[in-house]
Amino acid sequence: MKFDLFVLPFTLGLIFLLGYLTVKYTRWYFRQDKSDRQKVRNGFLSLKFMSALREIFLESLLHRRIFMKNRLLGFMHMSLAFGWFLLIAIGNLESRVYEPTAANPPYVPIFFKFFHANPGTFPLHRVFSFTMDLLLLFVLVGVILAFVKRVYSRAYGMKRTTRLMLGDRLALTSLWLIFPLRLLAESFTSAAYGGGDFLTGSTGNLLGSVFPAESFCYPAWWAYSLALGTFFVALPFSRYMHIPTEVVLIFSRHFGLTEKSKRTSFTEIEINSCSRCGICLDTCQMAFAGGINTIQSAYQLKAIRYHNIQPGESFNCLMCGRCESTCPVGIDISSIRMITRNELNGRTPDPSFTRKPVSLVNQADVIYFAGCMTHQTPAIKKAMQTVFKEADVNVWFMDEAGGICCGRPMMLAGHREQADLMIEKNRSLMLESGAKTLVTSCPICYKVFAKEYNLDIRILHHTEYLLELANTRKIKLESLAGTAVYHDPCELSRDIRIYKEPRMLLGKIMKLAGTGEFEKDNTLCCGNSLANFSASNEVRLSVARDAVEKLTAGGAQYLVTSCPMCKKAFEKVSDVPVTDIAELVSKALHKHQAHPVTVVRKKEPSVALELHGSI
């Protein structure tokens, strides 16, 4: 068996790393509940295993998603990951082919050129050395790109890049050193003993002409081994933990594991899978519009991983989900943020609200739940009531006198147990009414109804419901003059993806203008998000201003949304009139008549009414 003392740093590092990962991952496995462990066990024996492998190849090695977002960044990641993977794989093959019978410990292929400086007897040696040199070059290009990114991230179109911690610096430095040192070691070896190809050979010739190659050769191999060893030891304590963990994450996800309301091993896997690539930083409105650069997902995940979470930062997120939709690793950031908020709170719920009856239950076909916020935008409420009347719907206005709130804000506040109590209370009232359809004007309510209420009745946001009424000719819509731009509220987009209905509905009434890139999955938060507790009014206003600017850049005459919160936020900063889609529908109902107020006015010309016209 080939051996030299210099392989020790590499070998010990590798043993440490493998040991560490084995312990960590085993612990995670056993900390899962029974059903999750079952899922993992079943997963290994199913087709899911193969699909996971495919994704690992595409994402962990090729970094396809990053590539699609940012080609240069994708190439950088790919050259480092895939290049290194091939170096190891083909290196192993090379040593196997060269000495098929000998014991082949991991260090032999890694330091192949040390042990077999000039393997001339080996039939395919020219092919192998060429390939290995080519791969080394490939990886070195990646290293150079990474270096450029660290120094000047704007070259990648990135405005922000993550900050490094001590463990990261050590790992990063050793990682960057690995490949140049390999180049040096192989080049000196080539200069001293021959056997180098186009890269190592020519570099060797060059170096050999300046330095005494033979005496530089051995220290270079030591340095190379030390860099590898250092990297392996630093890896679990640095962001590079994502390299092995992402593989575990892909398997887990394919095996059917998801985030729950409390922290699980899956959460740990996700937290450790963040490479802090920084893609989330630039998508965050709090960063580019609000000027707040401490709360983005990469930082939050880091803070959670190192137990350094600050409530002020955790609660300063809009939870719009923009970062999540761009995360190349596909980490379920929103759930992790919710879990963190729950962990930051520590108190049993206060069920005092259940003691008093909130509202008498009416038997009805349709429940209308306006939502707390809609009470502050009476125009939306009034529009919905007008439509219900027009369509002659047997409706129960559940929170007419104020409800107990849908529970989503409470969840966002990190009081999951309290939210569950509220959900249960509302749920029992809803079921008691015997209604078949639940309509809400508030996307915040909609999301929690759809995701948490577990109702076997239809749950519709008013955009969907109004379209249904129009399509079934229950209401007749006339078109109105002007062009409108539609803004997707966060809570109806990305996760829920109600995109088609509002546009079809709006299209029946008004000419639709495009919103450029900022629509659907890439929609912007209005800044008024209930998920955010810490942001000041100024920050919220600047987020809103930025969003309105981007949305109305096309010159639409109306900014239409379908969320009372968004409406409130935009109204404050928009020069273009802001309106809810329901208000437009209500207006379109009455196109041939005057506005309802005006109708009464014509019948009874009392003074108090005429006053409306005078102002």
Binding site: H375, P378, E571, V600, E604, V607, H612, I615
Partner: protein, 352 residues
């Protein structure tokens, strides 16, 4: 003869014009509307005396009817400053030149529609204090949109005042006493109605204000509730349900009203064509024109020969506005008599 142009023919402008004319200056009043009198035209009676506004308005107009040049329906298209004073371009290609320019353009009234949760323009029985004053002026009875005599009327203070969310952090100063006055007037017109006044703080700072407040309490049985409205609801019959916190009892309170009056605030003029921006003058943190010094130079604007008075520098009572108008006239007079170099103008309205 030295000349003064006054932009804004309201209380401040008319009073200053009359005084400056008496001091021997050529005065031109430029008014954008078709009649003089400004906001006073909208008003029925004055606080705290409850005297009708008509005689005051008449007197203000009469004292400028001889000798003072009046230009109405004047849309200002540009103002130029030169060594000799100002050249003011107005619509119909006319040019007015003057040695001194006095800005008495006043203020704007808060657009109540912007407080959507209060329902103005959405609910039928929500009106503003300006609407109510005009109703008093018309002499018509107070009726709801349904044509009924209201049995309960509520006055909501601070609509568009002391409210950062609508960009008006300042106190409009006159609404508290106006609400007390209007509440009394409503009670007098509707003796069987209950009248409620919802306030954050009652700022009865002026002479006889406190007495009027007390009168409203004991003589007119107006009920004062310390609260600020969060939102109003419309009942099926068109009446309104308001939702407040009775802050002195720390309990939420709801009640029905037949008519809701919003005491709309006073805000700086910011719309296109406002002179503060046209002249590039500095605004204070509340958006009103910033005088050179609040104490020592309250009428100076930082531009030589350019003066200001009245509502342009913040909410004021009519009393205060009149005093300012007289004071600014005296100051302008002093300025003009020190400036011997000014060329006098006989004919200072020119057709271009």
């Amino acid at each position: 003869m030295k000349s003064v142009a006054i932009i804004g023919g309201g209380v401040a402008g008319l009073e200053a014009a009359a005084k400056l004319y008496k001091m021997g200056h050529a005065v031109t009043v430029i008014e954008k509307n078709d009649q003089l009198g400004g906001r006073l035209n909208q008003w029925h009676a004055l606080f705290p005396t409850r005297k009708p506004s008509g005689p005051l308005l008449m007197q203000l107009k009469e004292q400028v009817c001889e000798g003072v040049n009046i230009v109405v329906n004047a849309h200002i298209t540009g103002i130029e400053k030169n060594d000799d004073g100002f050249a003011i371009k107005i619509s119909n290609n006319r040019l007015i030149t003057a040695n001194v320019l006095l800005l008495t353009t006043g203020f704007d009234i808060f657009e109540a529609e912007r407080k959507e949760e209060y329902g103005y323009g959405i609910y039928e029985n929500v009106i503003t204090s300006v609407d109510l004053e005009q109703l008093f002026k018309s002499g018509n009875p107070i009726l709801t949109a349904q044509g009924k005599t209201p049995e309960r009327v509520g006055f909501i203070q601070c609509v568009g005042s002391r409210d950062e969310k609508v960009g008006n952090p300042h106190c409009s100063k006159v609404c508290c006493i106006t609400a007390v006055k209007q509440a009394i007037e409503v009670r007098e017109m509707l003796p069987s109605a209950e009248v409620f006044l919802y306030y954050m703080d009652l700022r009865m700072f002026g002479r006889h204000f406190e007495e009027l407040y007390k009168e409203a309490q004991f003589k007119h049985r107006i009920q004062f509730i310390r609260a600020r409205l969060s939102e109003a609801f419309e009942n099926p019959d068109g009446t309104l349900q308001i939702r407040i916190e009775d802050t002195l009892l720390a309990k939420p309170l709801k009640m029905n009203l037949d008519l809701l009056v919003l005491m709309v605030g006073i805000q700086p003029q910011k719309k296109d064509g406002n002179l503060v921006d046209m002249l590039g003058l500095e605004r204070d943190s509340d958006g009103f024109l910033k005088p050179e010094d609040q104490y020592t130079a309250p009428f100076k604007t930082g531009m030589r020969g350019l003066y200001c008075a009245g509502g342009i520098t913040g909410p004021k009572t009519i009393e205060e506005t009149l005093i300012e108008a007289r004071a600014v006239a005296a100051e302008i007079n002093g300025f003009l008599s020190r400036r011997k170099s000014f060329i006098g103008h006989e004919q200072f309205v020119m057709e271009l």
